[in-house]
Amino acid sequence: MSCPEIEHGVAAYLDGELDLTSTLAFERHLGECPDCARALAREEALREAIGRAGLRFTPSPEQTRRLRRAVHTLGDSARPAAPRWPAVWRAPGGAWRLQALAAMLLVAIASWSLGRFGAPRLAPDDMAEEVVASHVRSLLAGHPADVASTDRHTVKPWFTGRLDYAPAVVDLAGQGFPLAGGRLDYLAHHPVAALVYRADRHVVNLFTWPAAYSADHAGPTPAALTRQGFHVVHWTAAGMTYWAVSDVAEDRLLRFAHLLAAGAPP
């Protein structure tokens, strides 16, 4: 281990933590330094083995249920100053007022939720934010797929009659990205297809719609960005726009995107 680059250079290169200049410099260095080239080959072999092994632990369905319930219960006190009910609740003869209050509450909550979910809360020009918000909503619900199936011949026809276009549904199970199902979502002011995949046991949402919906200018090469800790990869192909979102490692999501971009039917 003579080369000083081995300790940090190799790993940073592998982890995609180098900027463009350093990447090019390191690639030049790789050509001249057999030690680093060998170290990189080993680290790549290790990473592939880790990727294949499916080491991520996921909670069992019962555990998930318990944990979600706990979060839901906890959330009730998510505001520090817990409200104290006014005397009206306990006042004798206050029953009718109580009912009136309950009715008002209902109306208030209903209109508030309408306002909350009905109105666009995000700047419409940042589609990435919207896409991440949709991804998060699908996770909040706990069941990201309306049609849960690993078979693309089940998922694809499910969209027929629900959308004005037919989304391409590709099975990538052989490449480590099994299909988990599909869902209708609403983005770019249209109902759109959300395909659910798994990558290293992480949920991936792939949103796809005709590029005309969002006047998209993205190129055919998948480009990555990050929003709120989620990775987003975006590209267009054959008049369709694609957005993949997940919390899986960025290089895995890019690989997923490249596989789709390469195999997208015309």
Binding site: P83, G229, A249
Partner: protein, 189 residues
């Protein structure tokens, strides 16, 4: 009366914001807790406690990176849990020795070793991860299984980025050495 309605709405809003921050990252929280505790039940307990703590700290959360925020709390919860669990070997867990003498094998990287790395199966890899001391296990889990960037790992583990890099490098070296050593043993007829 109006104030009670307002309070109720705030409560709803608080719950919504809290769920939105925590629920999408429950799987990541569980994965980290499971690798740290090495046990299903303890992992669930740690995540439950972490959610409670997350609620207590929720006002301080700026809403930028909920995943790194929650994972930080899970990690801290785990270490307090470990401390509470008492002396029962926990000190050894944190400072699990890494025998530099055995593992300092310089150079001598041959193709058969590459082959062993490539062929390593899930069971052996799992053992290799479990054999790592905590400071190395946590960074490699955050990087390889949860896909965090160096900066995010530094924030979660409360260490400088340089330390993240050297711990990752050491973790990977130990994994390779474990796989090669045990791969040879198992591969031998």
């Amino acid at each position: 009366m109006l104030s009670s309605i307002r309070d109720r709405l705030f409560r709803q809003d608080g719950r919504h914001r809290f769920e939105q921050a925590v629920l999408p990252h429950l799987d990541a929280a569980y994965d980290l807790a499971r690798w740290l505790t090495r046990n299903d039940t303890d992992a669930e307990d740690v995540v439950q406690t972490a959610c409670l703590r997350a609620l207590q700290f929720f006002d301080g959360f700026k809403g930028v990176n909920a995943r790194a925020w929650l994972l930080t709390i899970v990690r801290n919860t785990f270490y307090s849990w470990l401390e509470q669990k008492g002396r029962g070997g926990s000190g050894g867990e944190i400072a699990a020795p890494f025998d530099e003498a055995i593992h300092s094998g310089e150079g001598a990287t041959t193709d058969p070793e590459m082959e062993l790395l490539r062929r390593a199966d899930g069971r052996l890899l799992r053992q290799a991860f479990e054999a790592l001391a905590l400071p190395f296990r946590e960074v490699i889990v955050l990087r390889e299984l949860e896909g965090l960037s160096y900066k995010e790992i530094a924030a979660v583990a409360g260490i400088p980025v340089g330390t993240v890099m050297s711990r990752l490098a050491r973790a990977r070296r130990q994994l390779q050495e474990f796989l090669i050593a045990h791969g040879v043993k198992e591969g031998a007829p």
